[in-house]
């Protein structure tokens, strides 16, 4: 039975492709049939003429028989789909211009969306490069004080060992540390040389085996390395590092590398695909056994300290253990272990999170951000869809006769709708494929841009692990999006044109005066929505462009050309690095080629905005709360940067060295907390660690307001504190006029203090490394916004033009009559243009409101003193921008709607009246 059905289905599918041959055979069969009938009739005494007629009469409709035959031998609906597709393709090739514009419009919409999805896919959906990614989970802890972030993934080695020994829900449990930075010297067979600063990960011995990662070269280390501490000085290189540093030389395996005085041997290279399991999109340079921690990170004992949270724990779920049971057991184990030590911030719960390249993609803040961006680009796609719908509507007007004819000839309505939907889905698929190609190119560019930006920020050794090449998800997304788009923009024209009453329209449907107006609601809605979206995008980009113009001339307010930042990696040993740091500082201070030397937070390098509390009689309850930027700054810091001291004094040598609780504040801070008073000698309190513990500071000086946290705005509040003696900071150097000699002297000083420091030290010019990237960022953002806005305005313009062209073509006869009756061209034109502008005006109002709302949201982020003001001080509801954009949009809409209107009034009334 089943075999018979299969045979039938195969025969029918084959018939789909043998259509012409089958038709021809049938024709031959019927011809013979006719001939034989004729012979029979002739034998019965008819004349040949009569016989032929009788035979034809007898056999019935040949065409119907042929059609019945076709229906029988093939699968009806498939046959119809084939017909629909062929017909659609024919229609497309007949109108190549229309097709090209529609496909390009959709390609843009789908391309933008797919690019964004590619990025999201790489960040949140692509599985880790391990053997069974769907089974791998990451442990996440939830703290009593509710703090969120990377700390939630941090566990100590003893915790890991405890879980590993007592669990039975994972087939493997592995631990991997956060990246550690080390300095190394290669002692190879042929050469000995200093390597750049390396980033490594300490991992449990079962790491590679559990994840099914085999060596590309040499071998990987195994669980035996979890034994005695310090007994396995081996490392495995990442493919990326091997290629970058050793030009993929296979002889590197077996070489020795000296890290912090311990010789490690390179035993293998990881495969190319294995880019690590870190929370950050960075490929480590090497992996080492966790048991080597004391050698790699001297001065600590991570392997025994129950509170040193330096490891992430990843588990591969055992085949029979559900996620729920595994989670319950893990939480119980961590809880049991927590009784063995005292914690100020206990863990309440542990959950298991499915892993992706970023740890916190399930964070609602991340998801909200993604959703917001997705929404914006979806709007672009919607505009594109609305356009194509309008184009189809306009074109459909010309096709109404064809469709009416098909309906009149007996095609069912559903058949006609199917035909029209097939056309639009085909169109959308063509657009989707072009969009996919577009997005692949765009993703490549994006990755290149991100890598460059990160390299500029973090040094050239950064290996970016995100893979932005399209996988099946991206392709599926693009295809689903196109099919959905096809249905969205195809359905309404299809429904409209297949209305049964249109069957009567073969004759005279275009004569109706305004009788069709009710159906233009949808079109008006589309136009209004398009204009609204364009309006929002245009106002945003308008504001950003104005910000861009300001950003190019914005001055930080202090010297940047002569100021250099010396950033050195002193290693992870706190006490040792502080002593090296201070030796370096005093050496530099004694260097005569330098005008001034200080240390502290580098400008334009992120923000730290602790809560601040000021006791003051004028405030509510006598206490003023707020947030302020805070920076550590040594003595001579202001002199080095060229920030003028307005009142009071700089820190003394003693205060600076001891980290006394004294502060120099900015003018704005003084105005904000002590308006009209002298702030010198006043006190304020800072919650330095965001834990409610307040530290009191005394104001000793006031300095000029500058743009310090970022270039976008003058710091709203900023306190400079004497630095912590145990910390290490960027060293700020003012080279004076003779820069060349000064730079040489700096490097000399670094080498003098410790030769090994040279390789890990970066010397940044404040102008090129700190100011320029910000201007670049402003440019990139403005460009991005302008690009989107340009897309939107072009799409809207095309849309408005399409609708007007359609409407005017519908009303040509009416216009002809008006003209014939003596209406003036100007009046007709005006009424047409006004009619066309009505939905534009509605859309613009909505767009203005939405634009203002977006502005308000952006504006509200400025409450934090450290956040960037992307508008560089342009007013968020800048009337010039809002007004200018509105005028611009009206002009574009007028232009788009005037073209068809002018064409209509130029038509000779006689011709217009004859027009069908």
């Amino acid at each position: 039975m089943i075999r018979a059905r299969m045979r039938m289905a195969i025969a029918k599918l084959r018939a789909l492709w043998r259509r012409r041959q089958a038709d021809e055979e049938l024709a031959r069969e019927i011809a013979t049939h006719l001939a034989l009938l004729e012979e029979e009739f002739e034998r019965s005494g008819m004349s040949p003429e009569e016989a032929r007629r009788a035979a034809r009469h007898r056999i019935g409709g040949v065409e119907q028989a042929a059609q019945a035959h076709r229906d029988e031998r093939s699968i009806l609906w498939l046959e119809q789909v084939r017909q629909d597709i062929r017909q659609a393709l024919r229609a497309f090739f007949r109108k190549p211009g229309f097709t090209a514009v529609a496909v390009a419009t959709l390609a843009i919409g789908i391309g933008v969306n797919t690019t964004l999805f590619t990025a999201y896919d790489a960040v949140a959906l692509k599985p880790l490069p391990v053997a069974n990614p769907s089974l791998v989970v990451r442990l996440e802890r939830w703290f009593a004080n509710g703090s969120l972030g990377d700390a939630q993934y941090a566990f100590s080695w003893p915790e890991y060992r405890y879980c590993q020994h007592h669990q039975d829900v994972f087939s493997a449990l592995v631990a991997t540390s956060w990246p550690v930075r080390v300095r190394a010297t290669l002692s190879g067979h042929r050469e000995t040389r200093q390597l750049p600063a390396l980033t490594g990960q300490l991992v449990s011995g079962n790491y590679f085996r559990s994840f099914g990662v085999d060596a590309k070269l040499g071998r990987m280390f195994g669980p035996e390395t979890d034994g005695a501490a310090g007994a396995h000085p081996v490392i495995v290189l990442s493919y990326d590092f091997w290629r970058r540093e050793f030009s993929s030389s296979p002889s590197i395996v077996g070489s020795l590398v000296k890290i912090d005085g311990t010789m490690f041997s390179i035993i293998g290279v990881a495969p190319r695909d294995f880019t690590g399991t870190s929370l950050l999109p960075e490929v480590p340079d090497f992996w080492a056994p966790a048991s080597m921690q004391a050698q790699l990170v001297p001065g600590y004992d991570w392997l025994r300290a129950a509170k040193d949270d330096h490891f992430q724990i990843l588990g591969e779920l055992a085949p029979n253990a559900g996620l729920g049971r595994a989670q319950a057991q893990t939480a119980a184990l961590i809880h049991q272990f927590s009784r063995t030590y005292v914690s100020t911030n206990p863990t309440l719960n542990v959950t298991l999170q499915h892993t992706a390249f970023f740890g916190n993609t399930s964070d609602p803040r991340f998801q909200a951000g993604v959703a917001a961006v997705m929404l914006i680009v979806l709007m672009v796609l919607l505009v594109a869809c609305a356009n194509v719908a309008n184009m189809l509507l306009a074109r459909g007007a010309a096709r109404q006769r064809e469709i009416g004819l098909r309906l009149a000839l007996g095609a069912s309505r559903s058949r006609v709708i199917r035909q029209l939907i097939t056309e639009s889905v085909l169109l959308a698929l063509a657009g989707g494929l072009s969009g996919l190609a577009l997005s692949i190119a765009a993703s490549r560019l994006l990755r290149e841009a991100v890598v460059r930006m990160l390299n500029a920020q973090l040094g050239s050794s950064f290996a970016f692990s995100l893979n932005l090449s399209p996988d099946w998800r991206v392709i599926a997304y693009a295809l689903v999006l196109s099919v959905m788009a096809g249905i969205v923009f195809g359905l309404s024209p299809a429904l409209q044109f297949s209305r049964p009453e249109l069957a009567g329209s073969i004759r005279d449907e275009t004569t109706s005066f305004g009788g069709r107006l009710h159906r233009s609601h949808l079109r008006n809605l589309l136009i209004a929505a398009q204009v609204a979206v364009s309006m929002v995008l245009l106002t945003c980009s308008g504001l950003l462009v104005r910000g861009l113009i300001r950003s190019q001339s914005a001055s930080p307010g202090f010297d940047t050309r002569q100021v250099f930042l010396l950033l050195v990696d002193y290693g992870d040993n706190a006490a040792q690095s502080a002593s090296v740091f201070h030796r370096l500082v005093s050496r530099l201070q004694k260097t005569p080629q330098l005008d001034s030397v200080a240390y502290g937070r580098g400008p334009m390098m992120g923000t730290w905005t602790p809560p601040v509390l000021v006791h003051r009689s004028g405030a509510v309850n006598g206490v003023e709360h707020g947030r302020t930027l805070a920076s550590y700054a040594s003595r001579n810091y202001f002199r080095t940067l060229g920030i003028a001291l307005l009142r009071g004094r700089d820190f003394t040598r003693q205060e600076s060295a001891a980290g006394s609780h004294v502060a120099v504040i900015s003018e704005a801070t003084a105005r904000r907390y002590w308006p009209g008073e002298d702030p010198i000698g006043r006190h304020f309190q800072l919650d330095l660690h965001f834990n409610g513990k307040l530290s009191e500071y005394e104001v000793v000086g006031v300095v000029k307001d500058v743009r310090f946290a970022n270039l976008t705005r003058i710091d709203p509040a900023h306190v400079y504190l004497a630095p912590n003696p145990q910390g290490t900071y960027p060293i700020l150097l003012n080279t004076g006029m003779n820069q060349h000699a000064a730079l040489a002297a700096i490097w000399g000083a670094v080498a003098h203090v410790d030769r090994n420091l040279v390789s890990s030290a970066d010397l940044w010019n404040a102008q090129t490394m700190l100011i320029r990237p910000q201007r670049t960022l402003a440019r990139v953002m403005a460009l991005f916004a302008a690009g989107l806005a340009l897309l939107a305005i072009v799409l809207s313009g095309v849309g408005i033009y399409g609708v007007m062209a359609y409407v005017v073509s519908q009303r040509t006869q009416e216009i002809g009559i008006q003209m014939a009756l003596g209406a003036r061209a100007g009046d007709v034109l005006r009424s047409l243009a006004l009619w066309g502008l009505k939905p534009v005006a509605a859309g613009m109002l909505i767009g203005l409101a939405c634009g203002a709302a977006v502005s308000a949201v952006l504006h509200s982020t400025l409450v934090l003193p450290g956040s960037s003001d992307f508008l560089y001080g342009v007013h968020y509801y800048d009337p010039l921008t809002f007004l200018g954009i509105s005028v611009f949009l009206v002009a574009v809409s007028l232009l788009a709607s005037l073209g068809p209107a002018v064409r209509a009034i130029r038509v000779d009334p006689i011709i217009a009246l004859r027009y069908e």
Binding site: E29, T32, A35, G60, A65, H69, E72
Partner: protein, 109 residues
């Protein structure tokens, strides 16, 4: 007045014709059906050809091009092994069905 062919019976009659007479072309099948029924059946080409396709796709008959006595080309249909088996089953089923219908009609009157 010709009678309408009952749904599904045409296939059976074609199979029977081919089993009895050997390979025949469509015209001969139609003629035969009309003869047997004393011209009570008029076979419409719109149903005959689809039925032939259906039977062929089922693998019950096999068509091949040949020549008539007058040297006209025609497609000859022959019953296959599977067709013979199907004819047996279908005949049995028709008999049962007809018996049931007869019985019902007899009771009614």
């Amino acid at each position: 007045m010709p009678i309408q062919i009952l749904q599904g019976t045409l296939d059976l009659m074609i199979l029977r014709t081919l089993a009895a007479l050997g390979p025949r072309h469509a015209y001969a099948i139609a003629t035969r059906l009309e003869q047997v029924s004393d011209d009570l059946l008029r076979v419409n080409q719109g149903t005959l050809y689809p039925a032939l396709v259906r039977l062929e796709q089922n693998g019950w008959i096999q068509g091949s091009w040949g020549r008539t006595e007058n040297n006209r080309e025609a497609k000859y249909y022959a019953i296959t092994k599977a067709g013979v088996k199907a004819l047996r089953e279908e005949t049995e089923r028709w008999r049962q069905m007809a018996a049931v219908v007869d019985k019902m009609l007899a009771e009614e009157s």
